[in-house]
């Protein structure tokens, strides 16, 4: 059942249509930033601007840090592809933030829930782990490729949660 589709993780596979597109990731992060701001007791231009800027900064940090980690721990693959495998995997993994961002918007608008960060946290960690999965499909080996981005995503989402509590 479905045996013909069993790609071996850790063995390089042909990845079709893996163009590097980070725009969905930036948009998801900024959506969370907007939701955080509109759930503050008072909504102002400054708080909105700061929240969206913080979200964008965490997007850049997450993308750069996970890409760097993949390149660092898979030097052979990095040399073969010029680092393209890591960027491609991260961009693909980050697209899996979309369901969480959509659900967070719906929960906020339709149900009036103000809990945004559980959605954001789950989204970031899913994106990191999915990027790890993609990098293994590209030929990287070892469970470290899933655990490391998950750990980095956990750190980033925790830092973001702490910052959300401090921001006006």
């Amino acid at each position: 059942m479905g045996v013909e589709h069993l790609g071996k993780l850790g063995y390089r596979q042909e990845l079709k249509g893996n163009r590097v597109k980070f725009m969905p990731a930036y948009l998801c992060f900024m959506t969370f930033g907007v939701l955080v701001a509109i759930n503050k007791p008072t909504i102002g231009i400054v708080s909105m601007g700061l929240s969206v800027f913080a979200a964008f900064s965490f997007a850049v940090l997450a993308i750069q840090l996970i890409t760097w980690a993949f390149n660092k721990f898979n030097p052979d693959l990095c040399a073969q592809t010029g680092g393209q495998f890591a960027q491609s995997a991260v961009s693909q993994g980050m697209t899996f933030m979309i369901p969480f961002a959509v659900l967070a918007v719906l929960a906020n608008v339709l149900l009036g829930w103000d809990a945004v960060m559980p959605f954001a946290s789950a989204a970031i960690m899913t994106a990191g782990a999915s990027a790890g999965m993609e990098v293994m499909k590209a030929g990287a080996q070892g469970i470290k490729n899933i655990l490391l981005p998950t750990l980095l995503s956990f750190i980033i989402s925790t830092l973001w949660m702490l910052l959300v509590g401090i921001l006006p």
């Binding site: 059942m1 479905g2 013909e4 589709h5 069993l6 790609g7 993780l9 693909q92 697209t95 899996f96 979309i98 369901p99 969480f100 959509v102 659900l103 719906l106 929960a107 339709l110 149900l111 829930w113 809990a115 559980p118 959605f119 789950a122 899913t126 782990a129 999915s130 999965m133 469970i143 899933i146």
Partner: protein
Amino acid sequence: MLVQNEPPRWKTALNMILNPGDVVKRQMSKVPWPFSLSVSGLAFSLFFLQTGLDMLRAGQIEISTVVLISMLGLCYGTAGVALIAVMSWALSQGSERAYNVEWAISAFALGYSATLVYVLVGLVFSLALGWKTAVAFGVTGVLWALRPTIMTVRQMSGERIGFSIVVSTLCGAILLFGWAFLGRFGV
């Protein structure tokens, strides 16, 4: 002849949290759907139990309604999850027909292993400390099941990423908003 030992089912369930992509690719055919549905059924019944306990503490319902809500959770986690799995499987048939409906139900339901872990921890906090845990642990647990759902739909649909994102969002929305609706109905 080399006999390969199958990993225990609880290990497969836990692996679904860490590496769902690998589980749906290689191990799901060895997990029977009744076992998977027992995982999702238990997860949702405990999630709904905590919803009931939160409402009981707020003085909104009585203990008999808490039991009723928990039973509703059991139906939600078994029949509801199975129906959503069948819907996703049917939608995936346009592009990929390598998996049968039992596989789809089993993979979908086992994806709620993360929810089960979350609600078990939540139940401890609810009973020991009297915290309101339905949203903090239950909703978070359901969100954590989205990743296995994405991986399952992706596998079923022949690696169609856009399709898997849309269908997973739909599944997540049905489950979360269904819970919110039933919660209000319980009041």
